[in-house]
């Protein structure tokens, strides 16, 4: 069940499933140490002797965000129980405090007692072994702890702290299901401590007159010891929960509107998704700058691993989008995170490996270091080149030279030298590596185009800093890569770029004729002009073959994609539609537009994305080609980053093509004049 409405700060992240159950609790890194591990934290209600857990089935449940902020707006209505709830979930922007405000409305004609139940199924440090859950009478709270990880849960009603009922218990052991079962009769047994594989439930009771509503607050604090969770608990009590809700709402509103871009020329739904995308992106960025691909533990059931890693490619493309949107504070941290990686270990020779954990340690990998008894560098070279491409974009926009010289001396020349030299001296092509989809070994159009862009970035930096020797090296290398891309990867017979070629021993190449959306890259990374015949032919082939011919539409990743495949009808559904691949087509329309009418060709695709998002604005990696249900992880950082980048590329181009015919000055300004 994909995740929705994530809320978090840069060290504490909470995600929900479609039934409004908390499923992932990340602390102290965004993406590292999932103390919920995908297990359900149920939320239930008792009234008039009836009980139900809030979920899609039997409830009118709607999960969204408050306008332009990182606070949820969840409504749940149950006619049988005669109750409606309006909830707001918030993680304070600074402190590791999660608060849920619940406005309960009694829909009946008589005063009634409502009991709300909050269940906690922690697996602290990602294992159920050795946890403790207990009721702490000093705090009037339930505390779960293991080692140096503590979580305190409590709440407030009618201005008074504390809970009305609680229980702790054993779960996942000898058929014991946990205290949530105990809650279903509306009463908790009050067991005050449990150790081992444990859970807990707490409850509040509230009386509400007919057709009136009352407000209740539930919260969770996270810390490394008792003193920290207690301090945060007292902070909430001292200021009151509304203080944290209000300040966080204000902060994110200010954050998402800080640039005052002129978005008025965009359709309303595109403008809204642009801002939601920025906010959702922010939930996937760790305090050290690591931009995490996704934090949806549901994917563990599919692959026994997660997306909670910093992939250099995804991170670089997200940094580009964030820089375009003006968030250079975040991206500087990201590039420093990369610099730290490239300064040590195997990476110090100038390449990034497969992926990294949010704390900067090397992530899990399936790429071997040896093949056919020969050493085999297990890299996706675009991960290295796109970091340089993105870093140059950052510097060219913000001109933060003190930051950039450190990056140049310690990262750019290492990676630039690597890109320039890790090539076949005969062809000028980069040596084989894994593709951007992490599946194929070979020489890929996407990778080669990105290497060109990385070398141009290195050339720009070296020229800026007066390093003429390296400027010549990088320029010569980029020219050779460009020529080689044309010679070896553009196929004149099929009139398009090839996805991949693989060198054979005798010097020829095995070619892969699969049409893959990633062959858009030569125009996007500046190797060839967007109106170049080779690019036009390629993009037409992508559009023709990869557009999904169902009501859902969208562009598939490549012909015959089996990742989360949902139908065998390959002719009509070459693969599931991906948001990023569909947006690449829009980016081409934008890049080649010379008139406003041409530019508007991209708007239906932006509209397609908004219509395929969840009501909250969350974009998954892909959608089901027949049902439009989200597939694979959600939200995917790259999907949101691609949307943000595309919108801003549209607005930048609009400024250039929407001009006064008489004086040729722009009739539209992308950035408001302050």
């Amino acid at each position: 069940m994909p995740r929705d409405i994530p809320v978090g700060n840069d060290s504490f992240l909470i995600t929900f499933d479609h039934d409004y159950c908390i499923r992932d609790i990340y602390y102290p890194h965004v993406g590292k140490e999932n103390h919920a591990g995908g297990h359900k934290f149920r939320f239930g209600i008792w009234a008039d002797g009836r009980f139900d857990w809030i979920k899609r089935e039997g409830w009118h449940l709607n999960l969204e965000y408050v306008h332009e902020s990182l606070i949820t707006s969840v409504t749940a209505r149950n006619e049988i129980l005669g109750v409606s709830l309006h909830c707001n979930d918030v993680v304070d922007y600074r402190e590791n405090i999660y608060i849920r405000r619940i406005i309960i409305k009694n829909l009946a004609d008589s005063e009634r007692e409502f009991r709300l139940f909050f269940h906690h199924d922690f697996h602290i440090l990602e294992t159920p072994i050795g946890d403790t859950a207990y009721y702490d009478p000093d705090e009037k709270a339930i505390i779960h702890y293991k080692g140096s990880r503590y979580f305190l849960m409590s709440g407030m009603k009618n201005g008074i702290r504390g809970v009305d009922q609680y229980s702790t218990g054993i779960k996942e052991f000898r058929k014991l299901e946990g205290t949530w079962r105990d809650a279903e009769d509306g009463k908790l047994e009050g067991n005050s401590i449990s150790q081992g594989s444990v859970d807990s439930t707490l409850s509040f009771s509230i009386f509400i007159p007919p057709h009136e509503e009352k407000t209740l607050y539930y919260w969770m604090t996270a810390g490394k010891d008792y003193a920290e969770v207690s301090r945060l608990h007292k902070l909430i009590l001292g200021h009151g929960p509304e203080y944290f809700i209000r300040r966080t709402e204000n902060y994110w509103k200010a954050w998402v509107n800080k640039e005052e871009f002129n978005l008025a020329n965009l359709p309303q739904e595109v403008m809204e998704l642009y801002k939601k995308s920025l906010l959702i992106l922010a939930t996937n960025i760790n305090k050290n700058g690591a931009i995490i691909a996704a934090n949806d533990s549901d994917i563990q059931h599919f692959a026994r691993d997660t997306y909670s890693y910093m992939w250099p490619r995804d991170g670089a493309l997200a940094a580009y989008a964030l820089d375009k949107a003006g968030y250079h504070g975040i991206t500087r941290q990201f590039f420093d995170f990369c610099l730290d990686i490239i300064s040590r270990g195997k990476e110090s020779v100038g390449y990034f490996l497969h992926k990294y954990n949010p704390d900067g340690s090397l992530g899990s990998s399936w790429h071997p270091w040896i093949s056919n008894n020969e050493k085999h560098l297990p890299i996706q070279e675009d991960g290295t080149s796109l970091i340089l491409w993105s870093l140059w974009f950052h510097f060219d926009k913000f001109r933060d030279i003190e930051f950039a010289i450190r990056q140049y001396e310690n990262m750019v020349i290492r990676c630039g030298d690597f890109l320039a030299s890790y090539r076949d001296t005969r062809t000028g092509l980069p040596l084989p590596c894994y593709d951007l989809w992490e599946e194929k070994w070979g020489i890929h159009t996407f990778t080669v185009a990105s290497v060109y862009a990385g070398l141009k970035a290195a050339e720009n930096f070296s020229q800026f800093f007066g390093d003429t020797r390296r400027t010549k090296i990088y320029r010569k290398a980029s020219e050779e890569v460009r020529a080689a891309l044309d010679k070896y990867l553009y196929n004149k017979e099929h009139k398009r770029f090839l996805k991949t070629i693989l060198p054979r021993d005798e010097g020829s190449f095995e070619i892969d004729l699969t049409i893959d959306a990633s062959i858009y890259a030569p125009f996007y990374f500046g190797v060839f002009e967007p109106k170049d015949e080779r690019v036009v032919n390629t993009m037409n082939a992508v559009k023709e073959r990869l557009w999904v011919k169902t009501e859902v539409g969208g562009i598939a990743r490549y012909e015959g994609d089996i990742y989360h495949r949902s139908t065998d009808n390959i002719e009509e559904v070459p693969g599931n539609p991906w948001f990023i691949c569909t947006l690449w087509l829009a980016q081409w329309y934008i890049a080649k537009a010379e008139k406003i009418e041409e530019l508007k060709e991209s708007l239906p695709i932006l509209g397609w994305v908004t219509s395929r998002a969840l009501p909250s604005g969350v974009l998954a990696e892909q959608v089901h080609p027949l049902t439009n249900q989200p597939l694979s992880v959600s939200p995917l950082t790259w999907s949101h980053a691609a949307f943000v980048a595309t919108v801003l590329e549209y607005l930048t181009k609009l400024e250039r093509v929407y001009i006064c015919p008489a004086c040729e000055h722009p009739l539209y300004r992308h950035e408001r004049i302050k």
């Binding site: 020779v349 020349i413 030298d417 690597f418 320039a420 030299s421 040596l431 090296i473």
Partner: protein, 73 residues
């Protein structure tokens, strides 16, 4: 004839960089490829430390992988 001098000083600089390089062939006695030429052992490119080496800067070299490609011209 290489533009890099084959001397003890350069060798002691080189060992810090080639010695730690993932492409270093590891053949006994082989070092200072930019001065002496390519290694006798078969090698595959796996990243190159030449660009970080003080010799590379001192002699204003412009290539990499001297252990594979041969001495600096």
């Amino acid at each position: 004839m290489s533009k890099v001098e084959d001397n003890y000083e350069n060798e002691t600089i080189c060992i810090k960089f080639c010695g730690a390089c993932p492409t270093y062939p590891g053949v006994k006695g082989e070092l200072l490829f930019c001065a002496r030429g390519r290694s006798v052992a078969p090698k595959q490119k796996a990243g190159c430390n030449c660009g970080l080496c003080d010799i590379w800067n001192k002699y204003e070299l412009t290539d990499f992988y001297y252990c594979i490609e041969g001495e600096a011209k």
